[in-house]
């Protein structure tokens, strides 16, 4: 039984050579609520995201999940702890169907040794059917079950984006980190995504969304962090963020993007 535990970043600093990307960034992602991370282009959102997922390793600061320090662990080891992510750029395998791409998201939970990789044993068939059912359920959840057996090259970017999110959620991880999930989605697809994410919410799930789409963030998130020039400038509920003077100056001032 998973225990509800937060994902914590404590005074994380990251520099590439002389370029300071993140400075003493702290955030606590509480389970049971949707947390948003916003900020202008180049604010360091994706860098922070990559620090959380293990793609980058911060020079200073600690990251821990469920009380376990994550420093020094690579992406695969963090995945094994139940942290799943999606990618800003579509990262589906072009040789696999949409369903198979989602199935790969179950790799860690799937059994089956090397012998059954080559020989269709009864155990393998049962396991495949069970995994297929779970993958199909994730696709249905996001409303793209009809595209399950198509190749990524045959589908529009919006569907692929949803497929990638399906892949992140299929293993029922303890933490889901989504990097701009609504990028490339039209209004209807964004709405579907939002409903799907709300259905996904469990009391023990940590859910972080990095996003440009302010409407989506404001509607979906209960807690929002704002990053600018590598520093955390504000955090709070959507109402607090809306009223925050620094946030207003970033988003409504001369630097406004999107």
């Amino acid at each position: 039984m998973p225990v509800a535990q937060p994902l914590v970043a404590d005074k994380v600093s990251l520099a590439f050579g002389g370029l300071q990307v993140l400075t003493d960034v702290s955030m606590t992602l509480q389970p049971g609520i949707v947390t948003g991370l916003i900020g202008p282009n180049g604010a360091g959102k994706t860098s922070l995201f990559n620090c959380l997922t293990g793609l980058y390793h911060s020079q200073r600061g600690d990251i821990s999940f469920a009380g376990k320090a994550l420093q020094g662990l690579g992406p695969a080891e963090r995945a094994a702890l139940g942290i799943a992510r999606s990618f800003q750029n579509l990262a589906l395998c072009p040789d696999l169907t949409v369903l198979e791409n989602v199935l790969v998201g179950l790799t860690l939970t799937r059994r089956g040794g090397w012998f059954s990789a080559f020989v269709p044993t009864a155990g393998r068939r049962a396991e495949q059917a069970e995994s297929g059912r779970r993958a199909m359920a994730a696709l249905t959840e996001l409303g793209i079950a009809a595209s399950a057996h198509q190749m990524p090259s045959e589908l529009p970017p919006g569907t692929l984006r949803l497929a990638e999110i399906a892949r992140a959620i299929v293993s029922e991880p303890n933490a889901i980190l989504l990097d701009e999930p609504a990028a490339g989605l039209n209004a209807v697809e964004t709405q579907d995504l939002m409903c799907a994410l709300q259905r996904l919410m469990r009391p023990d799930l940590v859910l972080l969304i990095v996003e440009h789409d302010m409407d989506l963030i404001m509607q979906l998130c209960q807690h929002i962090y704002v990053l600018n020039f590598g520093k955390m400038i504000a955090s709070g509920t959507p109402d607090e963020i809306r009223a925050h003077p620094d946030v207003i100056s970033i988003y409504l001032g001369d630097d406004a993007d999107d």
């Binding site: 589906l92 040789d95 199935l103």
Partner: protein
Amino acid sequence: MRFGFVALAAVLMLAPLIAGGFLLYSLSLCLANALAVLSVSVLVRYGGEVSIGHGFFVAVGAYTVAIMEHQLGLSVLAGAPVAVVLGGIAGFVFAFPSRRLSGIYFAVATMALALALPEILIGFEKITGGFEGLYIALDLIPGVSKAVQRYYVDLAVLGLACLALAQFRHSRQGMALLMARAQPRAAEAMGITISWARISIFTLSAALASLAGALLGFSSSTVSPNSFTFWTGVFLLVGSVVSLNGLSLPAALVGGAFITLVPTYLAQAGDWVPILYGIALIAVTLIANAGDLRRFLPGGRR
């Protein structure tokens, strides 16, 4: 499609009734070489890497069968499984230190295997037979003519290998390897370790090459440094390219037939053989970065 496959299977099954003598012998070699080509294609498809040193693993398999017969008096029936294991071990031993190499650097590393091969075969004269090599005389099925049993054993193993690879494509490991090759970062985010992927696929490919070597030794009745040179691995790569890195039985047969029959039947053409290989190799160079011809094909799949 289905009809075509049945027709191909029928032709392959009935070939020994029509063909005999040298042609049947050549066809057996085609089948064994097809499996060797398949081992290179597996590496290209699932690992995205090019090896020019697979001749090494083929030699491991062939010499395993020969040495087991000479030292222990065991036939290919015992030799082939041992060859698979030893080939896999050799592949692992090579892949582990090379796991962070890719592209041209990896290909150059495999060249070390190809360059070392003749030296090893000659150096360990006592067990490899040195320049003269070893003969493989034991039959697998007593009472059946040598030519016929060679052909059917090769055909059966090649057929089973293709079936097993078709299963592998839909297995947990197969899909994880494809993901690791196409989207390494995404694969890692799903818990697939890239080093694991690289070592696994190379070990698998080397084991397959070694099995092909066992068949090749069995079918040609002899192993010697003349049959396993630096060029063996290069020819296998050419065969893989000619078969469009395909993992199906027809694709493997095209590759195997190309590298077996072209040198045999164009022997009198002499200088044209390397030129033909040269043309095929230029194709390799052109696609080296992609390691994959499929994207040039209509449909772009399979």
